[in-house]
Each structure stands twice: as structure tokens, then as C-alpha cells.
């Protein structure tokens, strides 16, 4: 891949990570923050899969692949699968917390919710 695509895959992963962080930094809604966070996480899926990809290799499903045929690295695929599930769980948890925030604070705008840093100093 690397001789043809060059650094493009890594650049795309880095771009998605950064753009997700940008979205979080400028966000006016915690729902938007959580979605941007899932974007940040998705950059790691790309990164992992790219690492294992190899030109002319097929999917590592050995039902119809003869021994000796090159396959892409199944380890990173297993990692990605784990990562997707973990990411989904984190997103769900944070969305649930966002609902509670709306219920208790009456707002989900990070700018409008009072900072937790106490105004009171000793």
C-alpha cells in the first residue's frame, strides 16, 4: 500500500482525530461533543486496519482460502472489533449522562453550564 497510497491513510486518520477534537473544542452541545468523540475514536479504527492491510492480500476468513494465500493481518481486525464495541459502550454511557445533565441542569451547552471550578477561593 505504502508505495502507492503513501501517507494518505495515516494523514486521513490524523485528520479525523484532529477534526473531532476541533468539534469538541468548539461545541455548544454535549450531544455534539459525544458524537465528535465517537469520530475521534473512529480514527483509531482506520489507523489499526491500515496497519494490517497489505496489497494483494485477501480477507483472513479461512473457510475458502487455501493455505499459502496471503491474507491481511487478522490481529488488527480483532483489535478494531474490540475497539468498535468499547467505543459504542462509551458513547452510550456518555449519552445517558447527557440526558441526566439536561434533566438536572436544564442545559446541555458546555458554555452555559457553570464551571465546576468553584468561584470561591480561599
Amino acid at each position: 500500500m505504502h508505495e502507492v497510497l503513501g501517507v494518505l491513510p495515516y494523514a486521513v486518520a490524523a485528520w479525523i482525530l484532529l477534526v473531532g477534537c476541533y468539534g469538541i473544542a468548539t461545541s455548544r452541545s454535549f450531544i455534539h461533543v459525544v458524537v465528535c468523540l465517537s469520530l475521534v475514536q473512529s480514527s483509531t479504527y482506520l489507523m489499526l486496519l491500515m496497519v494490517g492491510w497489505s496489497h494483494h492480500a485477501t480477507a483472513p476468513v479461512f473457510a475458502d482460502v487455501k493455505p499459502g494465500v496471503p491474507v491481511v493481518d487478522p490481529v488488527v481486525q480483532a483489535l478494531t472489533l474490540t475497539d468498535i464495541v468499547v467505543g459504542g459502550a462509551v458513547t452510550a454511557l456518555l449519552l445517558a449522562l447527557t440526558i441526566q445533565l439536561a434533566k438536572r441542569q436544564g442545559s446541555i451547552d458546555p458554555d452555559r453550564i457553570r464551571s465546576l471550578e468553584e468561584e470561591l477561593e480561599e
Binding site: M1, V12, G20, V35, L46, L49, T91, T98, G106, E121
Partner: protein
């Protein structure tokens, strides 16, 4: 060569749609864009010879998470419209005292 072209196109699409996910401010619309992004990511994974991962990604990233987002938006809007006025907790007192 074909595979590389497909990959490059899908990568570019992922970068583009990913950017619009972050830049879409309205959460409901963002959920839709996220769903499209999840689909592109799933296609990219197929192109990367990871069909089972693509399945998980399309299930979770394209269906479940956007659905959760839409449900959250609905629930939050209901809370905000019937709950107390936004602003109950906002007033910041600048009563910092001395060191």
C-alpha cells in the same frame, strides 16, 4: 491498481464526511451525517479486507449510535422544554475572596 484507487477515493470520502460530522452543529442532522460516515467507514473496511469488522461498524456506527443520538436528542428536548428554565444554574457569582 484498482484497489488503491478505490481505497484512495474511500479515504478521501471518509475524511470529507468526517469533517462534516464535526462541523454539523444540529445534533439531529449530525446523527444523519454520522450514519453516512459510518457507512463510508464500513465500505472502507470492506475494501481493506475486513468484512467482519465492517459488519460490526455498520451495525454499531451506522445504526445503533446514530439511533442513540436521535433518541437522546428527543429525550433532551423534552426535558429542556418541560423542565426548569435553562439558567437556573448559570448565574456565576464573582465572589472570589482573598488568598
Amino acid at each position: 491498481m484498482m484497489a488503491e484507487v478505490v481505497l484512495a477515493v474511500l479515504l478521501a470520502a471518509a475524511a470529507g464526511i468526517g469533517t462534516s460530522v464535526a462541523l454539523t452543529r444540529d445534533p439531529t442532522r449530525q446523527a444523519l451525517v454520522l450514519s453516512a460516515y459510518g457507512l463510508v467507514l464500513g465500505m472502507l473496511m470492506v475494501a481493506l479486507q475486513a468484512p467482519d469488522v465492517a459488519l460490526a461498524q455498520i451495525g454499531i456506527g451506522t445504526a445503533v449510535v446514530p439511533l442513540l443520538v436521535v433518541l437522546t436528542v428527543a429525550k433532551v428536548e423534552r426535558e429542556l422544554s418541560e423542565g426548569r428554565e435553562p439558567g437556573d444554574f448559570e448565574e456565576g457569582s464573582d465572589k472570589g475572596s482573598s488568598l
